[in-house]
Subunit: 229 residues, 2 copies
């Protein structure tokens, strides 16, 4: 199968969770949003008149199917590219974990956009400071603790390992100070393990991997990671 | 199958999306969180030592399975209780819509809790006003427009119709002023149609349906729905 991934160009964003799975599996795919005709096609597929119109990127075209929502895409891809078992209970469990990662990701995003996604960061900087403080003090340890515990029992490698790698990458970029202080031995071990997988290592050092930046979901603003605040 | 639903007592919350499906289908289930032994069992299932531990309620026990994340529960239940087709493409599509409803729900929640879920509303009232204004002006019309368009083409009744009913119920409770002004003929028609389904009508007028209140996800604070703001 040749997959077509549609996502905004210029950021890792939610698209990255799908990219990591496709890259790790060595699947054939085109990152359509980063080509000019692909980007135009993406806009077409999102038009009001489009059938099975997704609310937002990323979405994946696989033959006749257009699949939206990051976790849904991974749920679909998992068993097909060897990153999830085929049994329903196992798939539901991995999907549940992925949806919890999606919740965590929204909270990471909202640290810099607590008031409105359509407003600039500068228009909500004060609120962002408060929300980031709460995130670093309460939410980050809660999610980290949950997944530390999950990784203890999780034996089989899956797309969830890739997504947890991405969470650690992003959080380390956005909150280097807070992350230095947090105890997350299994998440850190998972991160190293994922980064060392041959196809992933090749991807991560290629130009296909977009660097983190201040347009993405994970953003580094020193004032949101201020020590002692 | 006898289902066990685990959710916080006293609020509709995310549990309501599952309740509506189980009630509409006439499925056998126990709302465990609302019984004293069931509530204790819920806490046990969430303990660190628990196998397949969910991050948060709601979760569903179905035989040996424990399934967490609202949309995941509905994805599992759908074809089993006659509220989704069995084919994979149809299931993926409905699930994609449900995940978009979940995104919408988080934004509805965050109108009154933009800074931290662990803080009181009164501690983030100022920020809540700003976020609500953005929600009413930008996000609400965006989601409503998306689902109006979806309902135009959607012919087969599914759990998504029930969840859209619940969104309209909740938003009408929380933002009566903003909702009066919004054009949503298909969502309103869907709401009436769902409310008139015999088993649902019986449920909605029973004590099993918890009234909306200020502990739930949808909350009415007049200052967050202020006309002209």
């Amino acid at each position: 199968m040749n997959y077509e991934l549609y996502y905004w160009p210029g950021i890792q964003g939610r698209g990255e969770f799908v990219r990591l799975a496709l890259e790790d599996a060595g699947a054939h795919y085109v990152d359509e949003g980063r080509t000019s005709p692909g980007f135009q096609r993406m806009l077409q597929l999102m038009k009001k008149q489009a059938k099975a119109r997704p609310f937002a990127p990323p979405f994946l075209r696989a033959g006749k199917l257009v699949i939206g929502q990051t976790a849904n895409i991974l749920h679909y891809l998992g068993p097909r590219i060897g990153l999830a078992p085929k049994s329903e209970p196992a798939r539901l469990w991995l999907h549940q974990l992925q949806l919890t990662i999606a919740d965590w990701l929204v909270e990471a995003h909202d640290t810099h956009h607590p008031i409105g996604a359509g407003l600039y960061y500068e228009q909500q900087k004060k609120e962002a400071k408060r929300r980031s403080l709460d995130f670093r003090k309460n939410r980050l340890p809660l999610f980290v603790g949950y997944f530390e515990n999950i990784l203890k029992a999780e034996r089989k490698f899956s797309y969830v390992n890739l997504s947890l790698f991405q969470m650690m990458e992003g959080l380390d970029y956005a909150f280097p100070h807070a992350m230095r202080k947090i105890k997350a031995p299994r998440l850190k071990e998972n991160r190293s393990r994922v980064a060392a997988r041959p196809r992933l290592a090749a991807y991560l050092s290629s130009p296909r991997r977009i660097p983190f930046n201040r347009q993405g979901i994970f953003r580094h603003y020193p004032e949101l990671d201020a020590p002692g605040r």
